[in-house]
Each structure stands twice: as structure tokens, then as C-alpha cells.
């Protein structure tokens, strides 16, 4: 433990709890370009996400991945903007998933650090940053397209179209295991849980899978999941759906499912640090667990349609630096957004937000990490600022996450879009229902 504390203090402390200045300095120090760049040829990118607190698992691993991405890009000559090579430097600000801190952080990153692009997790923190985006015209990205609305013209969701991609997992289950006829679902009652509930309800209805009960919502402060699981499996459902529960919930829920003797199918949006779930349950129990986020050492990611640079090597570098068990859903996502931003900046010959945005969206298509994709979303979000294409279905086999297939989100939506809109409306999740 002493060694662990020592290691954490030396390598993580500055990025965990010591605030933006220390975090930004550490990040900058970590990615000083090996190639010599002119002093003024540095483009700064803001990273405004939770690095501490309960939601840190969807921020901090993303920054870790970006640091590797930045090192690689700088070592390879940087970003070519207008014919000149620019080093990339990440400036981090820990918003602790707090809207007020997100607003402060956005202002600081723009005014003091001079960043050209800000990546966020979004969700509860976007309303804090939105006035800053409106005032400055800064280009922001979010992982949660439910932040999008017709008013958010400088906000893009270029990587994760949460929670819409969850439909692909349900569709895959229905096609491959037609004997599964009934499902139940639980979710935390928050901005991440509810749109996901609506999406899963639409996906189950489209697949002809009957919901045994209304989704069971729980308080995000819940620690003991035995009552939730007892209720979930009381009707002996074929499928238990864990919606978009945080890792802090997925782990104890799976452990309870195991201890209470559930032997059916489990599907979840994420299974971050799933090796720990396997350790707490059993390989047999976790066999066939379906979720949506692959490990990047998966050979399927070497397909030429994949637009993430050297995914297997990226995973190896990440695992070597931070530990394979620290790989999470967002470890690659922010880095993949940087791929898009880099391509946009190089195409535009400028790092200015409006020029990069125009270059990114030119032609209405873009290169998503999992293949070519369309700028989409007017139906659901009131604006075509979400980049949507294929998404992987991941299944745990022999204790290891394995990509089974990529499925098209737009194709599903073309067939079942009305269902999705119906359930989104029922849960007040359409853009014109959000306050």
C-alpha cells in the first residue's frame, strides 16, 4: 500500500485533487514534444471533465488516453496547420461534475490558457459551460448528445452517441438469442440513466422482447443493491438490463445477481473494469455478458474501416502506463475526438473553432472511430451535431471482452426511429422537453 500511495502521489496526485493549475502543468510536462517546435507553434486543447469525484471514471481515463495520443502526435511531427507543424498540449481542468466549476473552468481555459477546443464529458456540467460557449463561440465536444439542442451550435458529439448505440446490443441479442423473451431494467435516476432507459425500452420493443415490469429507478446515492436485485429477478426474467449504470453500480449489482442465483442474460451499456466483476463473481457467471465498449487490444479493431490510429498499440501503451484493469469506456474516446479535431484543423488550415467545425462537418459525413459516419441528430436533438455510424457489440467470453460485431445505428433508427422518439418523449428526454 505504501508503494501504491507513493506511486499514486508521484504520478497521479497532480491530476486528481490538486486543481487545475497543477493538473495543467503536469499534463503539459508529460507531453512536451520530443520534436522541436517553434515556441509559438503550440495548439492548446482544453480537457474539462471530472477528474475527481464519483464520475471521475468517465473523465480521468480519457485524459490519460489523451496524454498518450498527444505524445504520439508530437513525436510524429505534430499537427500540420496551414503548412506549419504545431505541437499539441492538453490543459486539464477538473470540473468535479459540477456545473459551476465547469463554467469557471471553461472561462479559465479560454481566457487564461488560450485553448482552441474544449472536450467535456457533458451531462450535468454542460449547462454550466454553455453560456461561455455562447459568448465566446468556442468549439466544445461532449460524450453525451443529449446535451445537444438547436441552440448549441458550437457543441458537437463526435464520438459517443450515448445512449442511442445501446440499441445495437439489444438488436444483436434478439438476433442471436431469439429464445430470450422477457427483460427487466434498473437505472439510476439521473441525466445519464433516464435517456438510456428510454433507448433500451425502444430497443426491446423493436426486438419483440417484453418488459416484465417498469424500469426500476434507484437513487444515485444507493450503496446496497440487494433490494434492487431481489425485485429485478423476482419474476425470473430472461434478460436483466443494467442501463447506463456507473461502474460503482454495475459491480455490486452483478455481484448481487450472482449471489442471488440469477442465471439469465445480462446486458449493460458499460462494464468498466470488468475483470474485477469476474473476480467478484465467476467466469461462468460473466460468460456472455453483453455491453458496448471494447478493449482496444481486440483484433477486430485492426480492420481497415476503423479510423482509430493503431488501436492495439494504444491499448498496450495505456495498459503499460496505467494498468490493464484501469482501461475504461472513455479511455479511447477523447483521443478519438482529437483524431477528428486534428483532421478538421489540418483540413481547415486553422485551429480557430469556427473554421475547424466547418471543416469537420463538410459534406455531412466524417470519419468516426468505428467507420464512416453521418452528422445526424435533428430528429432527436434538434441539430445535426452528432456523428453517428457503426458501434460494436462486445461480449465477455472466457473472462475477456470480445467484439462480436459492428452494427449500424442509422440503419436501426431508419426502421425504429418512431419508437425511440415515443419513449424519449415519455421520459421527457426530447430536446424540446429538456429545461
Amino acid at each position: 500500500m505504501v508503494a501504491k500511495m507513493f506511486k499514486n502521489v508521484l504520478t497521479r496526485r497532480s491530476l486528481l485533487g490538486s486543481g487545475a493549475a497543477v493538473a495543467g502543468s503536469a499534463a503539459a510536462a508529460a507531453i512536451l514534444p520530443r520534436k522541436a517546435f517553434a515556441q509559438d507553434k503550440v495548439v492548446k486543447i482544453g480537457f474539462l471533465a471530472p477528474l475527481t469525484g464519483p464520475v471521475a471514471a468517465w473523465g480521468k481515463p480519457g485524459l490519460d488516453g489523451c496524454l498518450i495520443w498527444g505524445e504520439w502526435i508530437n513525436a510524429a511531427g505534430g499537427i500540420n496547420i496551414g503548412g506549419e507543424a504545431h505541437a499539441v498540449e492538453f490543459v486539464a481542468y477538473d470540473n468535479e461534475y459540477d456545473p459551476a466549476k465547469a463554467r469557471t473552468g471553461a472561462t479559465k481555459l479560454i481566457r487564461e490558457d488560450g485553448v482552441k477546443f474544449i472536450m467535456m464529458l457533458g451531462g450535468d456540467t454542460w449547462p454550466g459551460a454553455q453560456p461561455v460557449a455562447d459568448r465566446t463561440g468556442m468549439l466544445f465536444s461532449t460524450l453525451l448528445p443529449s446535451d445537444l439542442s438547436p441552440d448549441t451550435t458550437t457543441l458537437i458529439a463526435p464520438c459517443e452517441v450515448h445512449p442511442i448505440y445501446n440499441v445495437t446490443g439489444v438488436e444483436w441479442l434478439a438476433d442471436n438469442m431469439p429464445e430470450l423473451k422477457t427483460a427487466v431494467m434498473c437505472a439510476q435516476d439521473d441525466a445519464l440513466g433516464l435517456p438510456s432507459v428510454a433507448t433500451y425500452l425502444a430497443a426491446f420493443e423493436a426486438a419483440g422482447i417484453e418488459m416484465q415490469d417498469d424500469p426500476l429507478l434507484f437513487d444515485p446515492a444507493t450503496t446496497d443493491f440487494a433490494p434492487v436485485v431481489t425485485r429485478l429477478i423476482s419474476g425470473n426474467p430472461d434478460i436483466v438490463c443494467l442501463d447506463t449504470c456507473y461502474a460503482d453500480y454495475v459491480h455490486p449489482i452483478c455481484e448481487q445477481l450472482f449471489q442471488q442465483g440469477y442465471g439469465g442474460q445480462v446486458i449493460s451499456c458499460t462494464a468498466d473494469f470488468y475483470q474485477q466483476i469476474v473476480a467478484k463473481t465467476s467466469e461462468e457467471f460473466m460468460e456472455g455478458f453483453v455491453f458496448q465498449f471494447p478493449d482496444f487490444d481486440d483484433p477486430a479493431l485492426n480492420d481497415e474501416s476503423i479510423n482509430f490510429q493503431m488501436p492495439n498499440e494504444f491499448y498496450a501503451a495505456y495498459a503499460s502506463r496505467y494498468g490493464a484493469d484501469q482501461w475504461g469506456a472513455v479511455s479511447w474516446e477523447y483521443a478519438s475526438i482529437m483524431d477528428l479535431w486534428k483532421a478538421g484543423a489540418e483540413k481547415a488550415g486553422s485551429a480557430e473553432p469556427d473554421a475547424v467545425l466547418a471543416a469537420m462537418k463538410e459534406g455531412g459525413t466524417g470519419l468516426h472511430a468505428f467507420g464512416e459516419a453521418d452528422w445526424w441528430g435533428k430528429d432527436l436533438f434538434g441539430i445535426d451535431n452528432a456523428l453517428v455510424g457503426n458501434w460494436p457489440i462486445v461480449v465477455i467470453e472466457g473472462g475477456k471482452a470480445t467484439i462480436k460485431e459492428f452494427r449500424s445505428i442509422p440503419e436501426w433508427y431508419a426502421k425504429h426511429g418512431e419508437l425511440l422518439k415515443k419513449h424519449m418523449s415519455a421520459y421527457g428526454q426530447m430536446w424540446d422537453q429538456r429545461t
Binding site: L16, K60, D219, P227
Partner: protein, 289 residues
């Protein structure tokens, strides 16, 4: 339905056990020292991290880790008494503010030492007592229930049968009169703080393998503990135990038969009703311990 009721009852017993440990510790500290210890949830968190360090990282036996956690958190409690609560004895608001500050310090220290992500604690045992196909009691949950019963019974015996226990109760009833009888207020405060903190620590240590261990895990525990001690009557140990059991049963059954959000609303409604009908709490009286 009978099986569902039985399983829910077992779930509620487990919830009652650790809730009672945390709440009784909080009541003891308030009863003797008159301080609302907002850092009590973080003492629970420290107990869980003792398991992470000693059991998960050092691979020492789980029971050793629980003992270390209990002693360590009790010692932290002693430090809090000496550093914050004793200098601020005549200023209850100051003690409360100090405890809020200290909880943030503890969260930051743990974040720096262990990181912000949840920690993996290997299961102590995966054995399950299968009563029927639908009614199961994991052996580890049973152990937590039994441990809580033993600890609370031990505390009761300590308070009722020993001189230190009498001194604690006397200090809680009337500190000035107790001092006039030669009881050291400082010593009783130390004992109360050590026991109260150790109870929170052992609750965290016992439940660590079953819950998500992270630096912010104390928050939800302290909210529940406050509901319990307010409804039970601030300062009443018996009230804390009885209401912890009752609250755990109500919350667990409402979660199972309705949902967790409604369960929280019901818990807060009970709090409101008790505050309106009997502001001193169901078991509140001048005899605080």
C-alpha cells in the same frame, strides 16, 4: 410472494446492521460531546480503505484487516477529539464546521493516496446459504449481521455494566454534574470519540467487500445516519438502534416493492412527520445516553 418477502427481510436485516453501527457511533459522539460530526461518513470510508490496504493490497487475513481498520479509525477519532472538538468544546457550531472541513481533508487525502476510482476488494467468501431457490443468504452478509449484533451488545454491556460506561452516560446527561463528581470530561470525550469512530470504521470495514469503495462513499451513509438519529431522538442509543432497524426495513421493502427513489422520499417523509409530531425524536429525552 412469500419467498420475495423472506428475501427482502434478509436484505433489510443486513441494511439494518451496518446502519445501526454507523448511527450509534454518531449518537454516542453527540451524546457525550454535543458535536454533530459531519465527518462520520468519512470515518466509515476510512474503515473501508483499511480493508483495501490491509486485506486487498497486503493480503493479510480479513479479520486482521477489520481489527486494524477499527483501531485505526478509532485513533483518527481520538485525533479529531484532541485537535478539533476539545478546543471548540464551548462552540458546537465550530465543531460542526471543523468536522465538515475535516471530511474534505480526508476525502482529498484518500484520493491522493489511492486514486479516485473505486477500489477492488476481493470477496471474503462466495458461499451462499440456499434456503429455497429464491431465498438466499450470502454467508458474508450473515457474518456482517452477526458482527453488528455482537458489537452493539458489547457496547450496551460496556455502557451499562462498566465504570467507564457509567461515566460516559453521566457526562452525556449532565457534564457539569459529572465533572463535580470527579469524572474527567476529557477522558469521557476521548472514549466516546474512539468508540464512535471505531464503530463507523468497523461498519466500513465489514461492508467494504460488498459495496463500491471510493473516496466519496461516506456521503450516502451519513445522510441515512442523520435521518436515523433525528427520528430516533438525537442522543438516544436505543432510539438509534430501533430506528435503524425500522428505517432499513421500510427503505428495503419500499425499494423492492416500489423503487429506490420512492423509498428515499418515504424516509424523508417519516423524518418530517416525526419532526412535526415529536421534535425531540421518537426516543429523545433529556437522558441522552
Amino acid at each position: 410472494m412469500v419467498e420475495l418477502l423472506a428475501q427482502t427481510g434478509l436484505n433489510a436485516l443486513y441494511a439494518a446492521s451496518y446502519t445501526a453501527l454507523v448511527a450509534v457511533g454518531l449518537v454516542l459522539i453527540f451524546g457525550v460531546m454535543g458535536v454533530i460530526n459531519f465527518a462520520h461518513g468519512e470515518l466509515f470510508m476510512l474503515g473501508a480503505y483499511a480493508i483495501v490496504a490491509v486485506y486487498a493490497d497486503w493480503n493479510l487475513p480479513y479479520l486482521v484487516a477489520v481489527a486494524v481498520g477499527m483501531a485505526f479509525v478509532g485513533t483518527v477519532g481520538l485525533g479529531m477529539e484532541r485537535a478539533f472538538f476539545r478546543p471548540l468544546r464551548d462552540n458546537p457550531l465550530g465543531g460542526l464546521v471543523a468536522s465538515i472541513g475535516f471530511l474534505m481533508i480526508l476525502q482529498a487525502l484518500v484520493s491522493m493516496g489511492f486514486g479516485v476510482r473505486m477500489e477492488h476488494v476481493p470477496p471474503v467468501t462466495q458461499e451462499v446459504i440456499v434456503i429455497t431457490e429464491r431465498v438466499r443468504l450470502p454467508v458474508f452478509r450473515l457474518a456482517v449481521i452477526l458482527a453488528a449484533v455482537v458489537l452493539l451488545a458489547g457496547l450496551w454491556a460496556f455502557l451499562k455494566k462498566t465504570r467507564f460506561g457509567w461515566a460516559l452516560r453521566a457526562s452525556a446527561q449532565d457534564p457539569e454534574a459529572a465533572a463535580l463528581q470527579g469524572i474527567s470530561i476529557n477522558q469521557t470525550a476521548r472514549i466516546a470519540m474512539f468508540i464512535g469512530a471505531a464503530l463507523a470504521g468497523v461498519a466500513g470495514a465489514l461492508t467494504a467487500p460488498l459495496i463500491s469503495v471510493n473516496p466519496h462513499m461516506g456521503h450516502s451513509v451519513i445522510v441515512t445516519a442523520f435521518i436515523v438519529i433525528i427520528v430516533g431522538g438525537i442522543g438516544s442509543l436505543e432510539g438509534a438502534v430501533i430506528v435503524a432497524v425500522a428505517y432499513a426495513f421500510v427503505h428495503t421493502f419500499v425499494t423492492t416493492f416500489f423503487d429506490g427513489v420512492i423509498a428515499d422520499i418515504v424516509g424523508l417523509l417519516l423524518l418530517l412527520i416525526v419532526l412535526i409530531v415529536k421534535p425531540t425524536g421518537l426516543f429523545g429525552s433529556t437522558d441522552r445516553a
